[in-house]
């Protein structure tokens, strides 16, 4: 069996890690195992003292990033919303030191996020966007049994404990073959982080400055990002944008049938939308037919740039992976692509993708993905991505076209597949992943958790 070290992370660097790994939460650096099993729990604090007591009891069970490369274990992660920090009784000057977008919350930033139409916060599942969500606890593991045990540990800290209420729970886990709710292998491309002690994988690019992802370190501009105060709260902490999508599998399959007569044609269209075959093999390295062995090999499945694909004839400019990480693509706007990266912890929930599901009823099956987008400026980066790279096409000269996988589509949306002699324009793109909720979480360091528990 391959360990996570072999399958997801790069080689150990000869340099020792320079980050305070024992302070940073494991989930910030540790990729999902494969396969993975887990649960998200959303909690409400009814009483500040009880909330702090819960944090005190939970803190010793939250995994730090020490040995983050070893994911053959189960671990817990915790995040706190702004409403949660208020409910814990954080002093006013400390609350004021958080960025505006975090303070008002994800629902209130719908305009900046382009969360309108079917993605409008008014249509979200409860309890998202109501201000009720205070704490999120997530259990991650590489087996169902370990997931249950990790969750039991979390539960012991809040069950039968008045003052903290469970609002919602959501189990998650990879589908057979480690696929997501649309049948693709996902989570392949992650930014490498300087000082984390692991060399980048081929194609991962140079390690980015740690301050982009963890507070208290210099970022790409050479200076640390503004931190919430006091320093003990900010340093080694970070933020996570939590976004829950429901996948309209029927709509996606109907679209594929309308645009491909044979299975082969449909799979090619599906690959063009994402930039990878469902196996994970990128079209730059497997342009004509899928290569599952390539898709499964972490040393090869991300080892490419766009130098040999300047016209998008392999991976279309508008393909999901080219939008989310344009690498060396020439963009229409002055852009530093290294400033807009996120650590993605995608967690798939619901029944597996079914290629034969065609009914509208199949769109209503609770199935999809919950993402944790982690960054020291998660709010700004998610807003940038939503505005510029997901719900617009201007940056790649694609007019009004949007990301075909996670974009919120307008009526009559198209997707352009560059091709010789003339491009193919595919019609009938719908919103295949509908946003069902979201929250911004502060992901405290170990010391910050203790500080929060000891307030007043």
């Amino acid at each position: 069996m391959t360990t996570v070290t072999e399958s997801v992370s790069g080689n150990f660097s000869t340099e020792t890690p320079t980050l305070d790994l024992h302070e940073i939460q494991a989930t910030v650096l540790r990729p999902r195992p494969a396969p993975y099993f887990g649960t998200h729990v959303l909690l409400h604090i009814d009483d500040a003292r009880a909330g702090r007591e819960f944090i005190r009891r939970l803190a010793p069970h939250i995994a730090s990033a020490t040995n983050w490369w070893n994911a053959a274990t189960a671990w817990l992660e915790v995040g706190i919303t702004y409403a949660g920090l208020e409910a814990l009784g954080l002093p006013k000057e400390s609350l004021q030191s958080f960025p505006e977008a975090f303070r008002v919350g994800m629902a209130a930033r719908a305009r900046q996020l382009g969360d309108d139409g079917v993605n409008d916060p008014k249509k979200w599942d409860k309890p998202f966007g109501t201000g009720q969500v205070h704490i999120g606890v997530s259990a991650f593991s590489d087996s169902e049994d370990k997931r249950r045990r990790a969750l039991a540990v979390a539960r012991e800290q809040y069950e039968g404990f008045s003052g903290v209420t469970v609002l919602a729970m959501q189990d998650f886990g990879a589908q057979p073959g480690d696929r997501n709710s649309l049948g693709y292998k996902d989570g392949i491309d992650q930014p490498a982080i300087e000082g984390s002690g692991v060399e980048p994988l081929p194609g991962q690019g140079r390690p980015l400055k740690a301050g982009e992802f963890i507070l208290g370190y210099p970022g790409e501009a050479g200076i640390p990002l503004p931190m919430p105060q006091p320093d003990i709260l900010g340093r080694n902490s970070t933020y996570a944008g939590f976004r829950k999508y429901q996948t309209r599998v029927g709509a996606f399959n109907r679209f594929l049938r309308a645009n491909g007569r044979t299975e082969e044609e449909r799979e090619l269209v599906a690959a063009k939308l994402v930039g990878r075959w469902r196996s994970g093999a990128p079209l730059t390295l497997a342009p004509d037919v899928d290569n599952p062995a390539l898709g499964a090999d972490p040393k090869r499945n991300n080892d490419f740039d766009y130098a040999n694909d300047p016209h998008g004839r392999q991976i279309p400019f508008g393909a999901h992976i080219r939008r989310m990480n344009p690498r060396d693509t020439e963009l229409t706007r002055l852009t530093d692509v290294n400033l807009h990266r996120l650590i993605r912890r995608g967690t798939t929930y619901g029944p597996p993708y079914d290629p034969n599901a065609l009914a509208e009823a199949d769109d209503e099956v609770p199935r999809g993905a919950i993402f944790l987008f982690i960054s020291a400026k998660a709010m700004a980066t998610i807003e940038f991505l939503q505005q510029e790279w997901i719900n617009d096409g201007n940056f790649i000269g694609a007019g009004n076209e949007r990301d075909p996988i996670i974009g919120r589509q307008e009526e009559g949306a198209t997707f352009t597949i560059p091709k010789q002699p003339v491009r193919r324009r595919v019609r009938g793109i719908e919103t295949f992943n509908v946003l069902k909720g979201g929250e911004y979480f502060f992901v405290p360091s170990m010391s910050a958790l203790k500080w929060l528990a000891d307030l007043i």
Binding site: T332, R333, L334, T335, L339, E383, F384, N394, G397
Partner: protein
Amino acid sequence: MATETATPTPSSVRPPSAADRIQQLREAYADAPAVGRAALDKVIPELEAAMRLQQRQEPSTAGRIGLRRGKVSELTGIVTLAPGGAKRLRLLLKTLGNNFQGADKVGTLHDMRFVFLDNDTRLLFATAYDGDWDTYIEDFVTKIPDAMDLIFCNLDGWPGINSPKAKDFIAGFQIPADTWYVASPNLTVAETKRLEKIGAAVEEFLDKIQ
């Protein structure tokens, strides 16, 4: 970080009807010069027709401050120049000539206007650009910090592009336009360039087959 400046839009107040508006105009123009009063009388039928056709499409806001029409936004500001700033800036602009390759590189600037006011003590700056300006400010910090500091250091109080206060400084001197007309609100700079290229290619094609 400063709180957002929201344009007050009292939704409870119903917009005045066309007849009300015309009446308001008549009253406002009552003390206008004679040529203005006469002109108003003549254009009233035209105004009424225009108001009937007018789609009540309110402009949205461009990020923190400024108006936005479709995909294009405006930034207008009057700012005090630093001592010696006017001299340096004039010289810098002359050196660049009318060929702003740096602005081309940004890829979103439709135009920029630099107007020196009040004996070179203040600057009127106006530009039309695509999207929200603050979305890309971090990109300017790492990609063109020198260009930004070279120009902006001539403004009184510029904290430096690396400062977290740079955004607040820019928003601070902005004056949101009251009204802004845009002929092609959906044409970004990138889209305009693409259409120019397509137009030229089509003409070339037609030339060949004629």
